[in-house]
Symmetry: C2
Subunit: 212 residues, 2 copies
C-alpha cells in the first residue's frame, strides 16, 4: 500500500472505518471520489462535520435531533402514555413508516452487552426510569429478538415493574406473507408458544385478547 501517496493511504484507511467497508471497497471509494465525484467528497466531509457539531441526543427519547427535543417528543398529537423502546433510530423509522403507532419512543442506541462494556448507564436507563415516572401507562418492548435484545427486554420489564408500569413485548412468530416451510425452528417455536385462541361465536371478543 506504500505505493500510494500518504494522503491517499490516509483516505483509504479512513474509509475503512465505515462498517462493512474492506480494503478493496475503500480503495474503490477513494478513487471514485477523487476521480469522478470531487464535489461529493467535499459534501461528505462537510456533512460529517455538521452532523458531529449539530446533532444531539433528544433529552426525552435519545433519538438524534437538532435542538433539545426531537419532533416526535415535542408533538402534542401523540399518546404520552405509550412508550415504545427500540434499539436504534432506524427502528423508529421502520415503525413510523408502518404508520400504525401513535405513542412515543425511547431509543436505547444499542442493547445490554456487558462483555462489550455496555451496561444500563450506556443505554441511558436512568433517563428511561425517569421517563416511565412521567405518566406512562404501558411500555412496549420492541428490542430485537436476539439474545442481547431479549436480555435487555427482560431487564427493562423488571425496571418497569419496580415503578409499577405495565410492560409488554412485541409478538414474535411467522412473518406476514411468510411460508412455514421456510421459517426457522426458533421462530416456529415462538409462533406456537405465543398462539392465540380463535374467537368462534362472540363477535365482540378480539382473538388477540385471549391466549392459551
Amino acid at each position: 500500500m506504500s505505493l500510494f501517496a500518504p494522503p491517499l493511504n490516509r483516505l483509504i484507511e479512513a474509509l475503512r472505518l465505515l462498517p462493512g467497508v474492506g480494503p478493496k471497497s475503500a480503495q474503490r471509494m477513494a478513487f471514485h471520489l477523487l476521480e469522478k465525484d470531487r464535489q461529493g467528497a467535499l459534501v461528505l466531509a462537510g456533512a460529517l462535520r455538521d452532523a458531529l457539531e449539530i446533532l444531539h441526543h433528544c433529552q426525552d427519547c435519545r433519538m438524534y435531533c437538532e435542538g433539545d427535543r426531537c419532533p416526535i417528543c415535542r408533538s402534542s398529537h401523540r399518546d404520552e402514555g405509550l412508550l415504545c423502546v427500540v434499539e436504534t433510530p432506524a427502528d423508529v423509522v421502520a415503525i413510523e413508516n408502518a404508520g400504525f403507532y401513535r405513542g412515543k419512543y425511547f431509543v436505547l442506541m444499542g442493547h445490554l452487552s456487558p462483555l462489550d462494556g455496555v451496561g444500563p448507564e450506556e443505554l441511558g436507563l436512568d433517563r428511561f426510569s425517569e421517563r416511565l415516572r412521567r405518566g406512562v401507562r404501558e411500555v412496549i418492548l420492541a428490542t430485537n429478538p436476539t439474545v442481547e435484545g431479549e436480555a435487555t427486554a427482560h431487564y427493562l420489564a423488571a425496571q418497569a415493574a419496580q415503578i409499577g408500569v405495565h410492560a409488554s413485548r412485541i409478538a414474535h412468530g411467522v412473518p406476514m406473507g411468510g411460508e412455514l416451510t421456510y421459517v426457522d425452528s426458533g421462530t416456529l417455536s415462538h409462533a406456537f408458544s405465543g398462539r392465540h385462541r380463535v374467537a368462534q361465536t362472540d363477535p365482540g371478543s378480539h382473538p388477540a385478547d385471549e391466549s392459551f
Copy 2:
C-alpha cells in the same frame, strides 16, 4: 426519511454518494459514526479534504501523488523503455504487489467510453503519445479484458504504431490454479486461440516465444 434531523439526513445522503452504498448501508454507517466512532468521522472528514487538496495526477503517469511526479516515475532503478498502460491506480498496486515488473506505468484513470463522454482527451492520451516519444521501446497494454478495455487497447496500439513503438497485449487465458470446468467460455476461447507451442527438444528456447 423526514423523521431524521436534517443534518442526519444530509449525512446519510452524502454517504450514499460512495459507490456500492445504498440507503440502508448509509444509515448504518451514519449511526455507527455518530454513536461509536465520532473520532473516526472527524478523521474521515479531514482525510477527504486533505486528499482533495494535496493529491494531484503525476505529470508522467497520471497516478495520484503529492508532488509533480510519483515515486515510480522519479525512480532511476526502473526501465524507462517499458511502459505498462493500466486503467486504474489499483491495477498499478496489483502489478507492483506481484513484484515482477520493473518498467514504468501510464494510468488511464478509466477507459474509452464515448457514450459516457470519455474520449482520448479525458484519458490524457496526448500526454501518452508525448510519453511514448521519450525513448519507450515497448508499451504493454494491460487494460481490462472487457469490451471497453479491449477497444481502448486497440486505440492505444494504433497510436503506438503511428509513433513507431512496439505494442503488446497481456495474455488472457485460464488463470493459474483455475479449473477448466469452472472457466467461462470466453476465457477458454481466448486460452485456445492464444495457445503456444511447447518446446520439446531445445532447452534454450522459451515456450512463450513461439505461438501457433
